[in-house]
Symmetry: C2
Subunit: 190 residues, 2 copies
């Protein structure tokens, strides 16, 4: 494994063990078996390293969105969306340790926000991709054309994001699969 990969693995592990605040570059470098200077040669700052962990190590939303796109017009739309919702809850739960840590660290967040803006990327983009999928299903006549696809995507992704966060604080009574099926049925009802 090359140094860059070792550093990313060490960062992921340190965040899992110590939380974002406790995952210092010193600790990460030590765990990766390299100097802090070498870490900074690969990543200009902790923010860039965190972005690499988010993009390269976490089970991303992209495959789940791609699966929806591949199944356009095929299978049961409610079933496809329910499966997507479960994947989204899982993703947001795994990403929460990093994303939440950034919100609670004003200086880290500020740099990260600038980095996202420069890259024209951000956590709002998956909602737009989901909205495009819903529009395509509308064109295929499988989803009520009167539905505002952007708003529907916002509701579905939001519910998944929220559930993933609630699970950190409490045991949720309703099992995830029953919950996902219910929100999808409510959202796409005719």
């Amino acid at each position: 494994m090359n140094t860059r990969d070792r550093i990313i693995d060490a960062a992921e592990q340190a965040i899992h063990e110590y939380g974002l605040a406790g995952a210092t570059t010193k600790r990460i470098a030590s765990q990766a078996g390299c100097s802090e200077a070498l870490l900074y040669k690969h990543f200009p700052g902790k923010e860039a390293l965190l972005l690499a962990v988010l993009l390269e190590r976490l089970p991303a939303l992209a495959p789940a969105l791609a699966a929806l796109r591949e199944r356009l017009g095929e299978g049961d739309l409610a079933g496809n969306l329910t499966e997507f919702a479960l994947a989204a809850v899982d993703f947001y739960g795994r990403a929460a340790g990093i994303a939440s840590g950034m919100i609670s660290d004003p200086s880290l967040l500020s740099t990260f926000r600038d980095m996202l803006a420069k890259g024209a990327t951000g956590p709002h983009l998956p909602i737009e991709v989901l909205a495009e999928v819903l529009r395509a299903e509308q064109r295929l006549g499988r989803l009520d054309g009167a539905i505002d696809a952007g708003a529907a995507a916002s509701l579905l992704m939001g519910a998944c994001f929220h559930r993933a966060h609630l699970a950190f604080f409490t045991d949720l009574a309703q099992p995830a699969d029953a919950w996902a099926a219910a929100i999808v049925a409510t959202l796409i009802r005719r």
Copy 2:
């Protein structure tokens, strides 16, 4: 102002300035003009102090939910829910600094989770209160009785929670009021 209130104010201010990780009890006590020992006499731990800030200082969701209940059967349901959604986005944005900081601090989260369980409380409860409001509007014939009120509440609260978090990372193109009106219209359509 009594010592307890001074400590809560100092905690709120410290979290705002330094993030949750930087808001140490030492810093909070110093800002409140008291010793750490006195702080711990009022609050058994940082978790209890954070819960006090959340419950006693933040603009809670309770008034917004109470406003919905007071307007049961009155005014425009879509308008009432849109106003509620805007209040929820605002609340979640203000609570995010604390809630997110806890998710990224495993030991703080564990104690806080136990504290919530013992108090039979938690961040999932407002969804249940909103679901009750929606059920009451269904009984009054103002909302489609076929809608799963629990699922609808999950979708609405989730979208608000998500939007509040997205705003930390990016400038959202759609203004909050247009966004809120669109998600409500999509959710309660007949």
